[in-house]
C-alpha cells in the first residue's frame, strides 16, 4: 500500500475523536466553499466516478515488489481539486472501512492524511503548469511529494496520539514509524510513476479531463 490505513482500536478514544472533529471541521469548510456557487450535476458525477474508480483500482494488485495496491488519492486531488477531493477522500475512506481497509474510528485521521495528499498534489501540479513541460514529470513529482507529505502527517498523527497498549515512548514510536514511512515511500515511488504515466496518457487523449490544453505531439 502506498497509503497507510489504521484499524479500529489503534488510536486512543480521545485522540480518534479529536482527529474526527478536525476532519469534520475541514469537510465543513470545504462544503461552505463548494456551496458558494451551485455545484453543476456534472461535477457531482465526476466526483462520484472518481471515488468509484479510485476505490476499484485500489483493489487491483500490481505485481511489483511482491504485490502492491495504490491509493490514487493524489490523482483525485489533481483531477478534482482539494475541495471536492476532500469529499472523495471521506467517501473512499467510508468504503474502505466497509471492506476492512481501515477502521471507522480512524476515518477522521485518514481523511486528514488524504486531504494533505490531495492538497499537495493539486498545488504542485497546478504550480508546475507552464513551468515544467512534461506532464509525466509534473504528475509523478506531485504524487511523490503528496505521498511524502501524507506520510509525514500520518507519522505526526500516530506519534502524537500514541498507539493503544504500546509501552514505548513517543520517540521510539516515531523512530519505528519513520522506518515504516520509508518502506511506504518505496511503494509511493511506484504510485508516482503510475500516476505520471496515467496523467501523461490523459493529457494526450483526453486533456479535457485534466482541464488543460492538448499536448502538442512531435511530428
Amino acid at each position: 500500500m502506498a497509503h497507510i490505513h489504521l484499524q479500529d482500536g489503534t488510536l486512543p478514544f480521545a485522540w480518534a475523536a479529536f482527529w474526527w472533529a478536525l476532519a469534520l471541521l475541514l469537510l465543513a469548510l470545504c462544503l461552505v466553499r463548494l456551496r458558494r456557487r451551485p455545484l453543476e450535476p456534472g461535477r457531482v458525477t465526476l466526483a462520484a466516478f472518481c471515488t468509484a474508480t479510485v476505490f476499484a483500482l485500489a483493489q487491483v494488485e500490481i505485481p511489483i515488489l511482491g504485490g502492491v495496491h495504490l491509493s490514487l488519492m493524489p490523482l483525485s486531488g489533481i483531477l478534482l481539486g482539494p475541495l471536492l477531493g476532500s469529499i472523495v477522500a471521506l467517501i473512499a475512506n467510508i468504503f474502505s472501512a466497509a471492506v476492512g481497509h481501515g477502521g471507522w474510528s480512524v476515518i477522521g485521521a485518514n481523511v486528514l492524511v488524504n486531504a494533505t495528499e490531495l492538497g499537495t498534489a493539486w498545488a504542485v501540479f497546478r504550480f508546475t503548469a507552464g513551468r515544467v513541460g512534461s506532464v509525466f514529470v509534473r504528475g509523478a513529482g506531485a504524487t511523490f511529494l503528496a505521498l511524502f507529505a501524507g506520510t509525514l502527517v500520518m507519522i505526526g498523527i500516530v506519534t502524537v496520539s500514541g498507539i493503544q497498549g504500546v509501552a514505548l515512548g513517543a520517540e521510539a514510536v516515531a523512530a519505528g514509524l519513520v522506518v515504516l514511512g520509508a518502506v511506504n515511500m518505496a511503494v509511493g515511488a511506484v504510485e508516482a510513476i503510475v500516476t505520471g504515466y496515467l496523467l501523461a496518457y490523459l493529457a494526450r487523449v483526453r486533456p479535457d479531463i485534466l482541464g488543460e490544453r492538448p499536448v502538442a505531439r512531435p511530428e
Binding site: Q7, V44, L57, G100, W104, V190, Y201
Partner: protein
C-alpha cells in the same frame, strides 16, 4: 508472477450485495438503524476495552453473529488478511521490548508476553469491527443503506456517496474486463518493474477514460431526466423499532457507566 486480477483479499461488493438482497436470517430482518448503532457501539467498545481476553471474546461473539446470519466463513478468513497485514505492518517495529516475560529473542530483540498480548489485542480489535461491518453490509438491503446515507450525510456528500456506490459495480466490471483482455493477450507474462509499471499505468488510464465517459453519459442522462442535485429515496426505511434502538441505547449507557465508573478493564479515553 501472480495472475493479473483484482485482489481476492478484499470483499467483493457483488457478493456483499447478493447476501444482503437474498438472505433471510433474523439479522436480515433487524432494523438497519439498530445495526448501524450496534456497529458504532462495537467501535467504541473495542477502543475503550483493555483486557486481551475481553477483546478476543468480542471477536468470537461477532464471528458467531456472522455465522448465525448465514454468511460465508471461508471468505471471511480470506478477507481478514488485509486488516491483519495493516496491524502487523504498524506494530512490527513496536512489539519488541514490551514489559513481560521473554518469549523469543533474536538479533538483540526480545519478544515478551506483553508484546504478544499487544499484537493479539490490536488484531482482535481490528477484526471485531471488520466482522460486524460485514454483517451490517451483508444483511442490509441497498435501499435501506441508501436511505440512511441520504438522511445522515449533507448535500452534496450524499449525492457523491450514492452515485459512487452505483458506479462502483460498473467500474469493477470494466476493470475485470480489461484485466481479462490483458491476460488473454499474454499480459500476465510481462516481467520487469518498469514494464509492469507502464503496463498498469496504461490499464489504469484506460479504466479512467472509459469510466469517465460512462459517468459523463450517466450525468447527461440524469440531467435530461430532471436531476437537480437530489435523489428521492426509492423505498422508505422500515418503521422505527423502538425495542431494538432501545437495546442499543442501553448498551451505550452501560459502556458509559463502565468507563466513567472506572470499571476494571475499561479505559483508553486518553493514552
Amino acid at each position: 508472477m501472480p495472475p493479473l486480477r483484482r485482489s481476492s483479499h478484499i470483499p467483493d461488493p457483488n457478493l456483499i450485495t447478493l447476501y444482503a438482497e437474498r438472505g433471510g436470517s433474523a439479522l436480515h430482518r433487524l432494523d438497519p438503524r439498530a445495526k448501524v448503532g450496534a456497529l458504532a457501539w462495537l467501535v467504541v467498545f473495542v477502543t475503550l476495552a483493555r483486557p486481551t481476553w475481553l477483546l478476543v471474546a468480542a471477536l468470537a461473539v461477532t464471528i458467531v453473529v456472522y455465522l448465525l446470519a448465514g454468511l460465508p466463513f471461508r471468505e471471511l478468513l480470506r478477507w481478514y488478511s488485509i486488516p491483519v497485514l495493516f496491524v502487523l505492518s504498524l506494530v512490527v517495529f513496536l512489539v519488541w521490548e514490551e514489559p513481560g516475560a521473554p518469549v523469543l529473542a533474536a538479533g538483540g530483540l526480545v519478544l515478551t508476553t506483553g508484546g504478544v498480548a499487544l499484537v493479539v489485542s490490536l488484531v482482535a480489535r481490528a477484526l471485531t469491527t471488520v466482522t460486524f461491518t460485514l454483517v451490517l453490509l451483508m444483511t442490509t438491503r441497498y435501499v435501506h443503506l441508501a436511505g440512511l446515507a441520504a438522511k445522515v450525510l449533507p448535500s452534496p456528500i450524499d449525492q457523491v456517496f450514492l452515485l459512487s456506490y452505483r458506479f462502483l459495480f460498473t467500474t469493477l466490471g470494466l476493470i475485470d474486463g480489461l484485466l481479462l483482455a490483458l491476460r488473454a493477450r499474454g499480459g500476465g507474462l510481462v516481467r520487469g518493474v518498469l514494464t509492469s509499471t507502464r503496463l498498469f499505468a496504461g490499464i489504469f488510464a484506460l479504466s479512467f477514460v472509459r469510466a469517465y465517459d460512462r459517468a459523463d453519459r450517466v450525468g447527461r442522462a440524469m440531467t435530461a431526466r430532471g436531476y437537480e442535485g437530489r435523489f428521492p429515496p426509492s423505498e422508505p426505511l422500515p418503521p422505527l423499532s423502538v425495542v431494538q434502538l432501545g437495546a442499543v441505547a442501553v448498551a451505550f449507557a452501560a459502556l458509559a457507566f463502565a468507563v466513567l465508573g472506572g470499571l476494571p478493564g475499561f479505559g483508553g479515553v486518553v493514552p
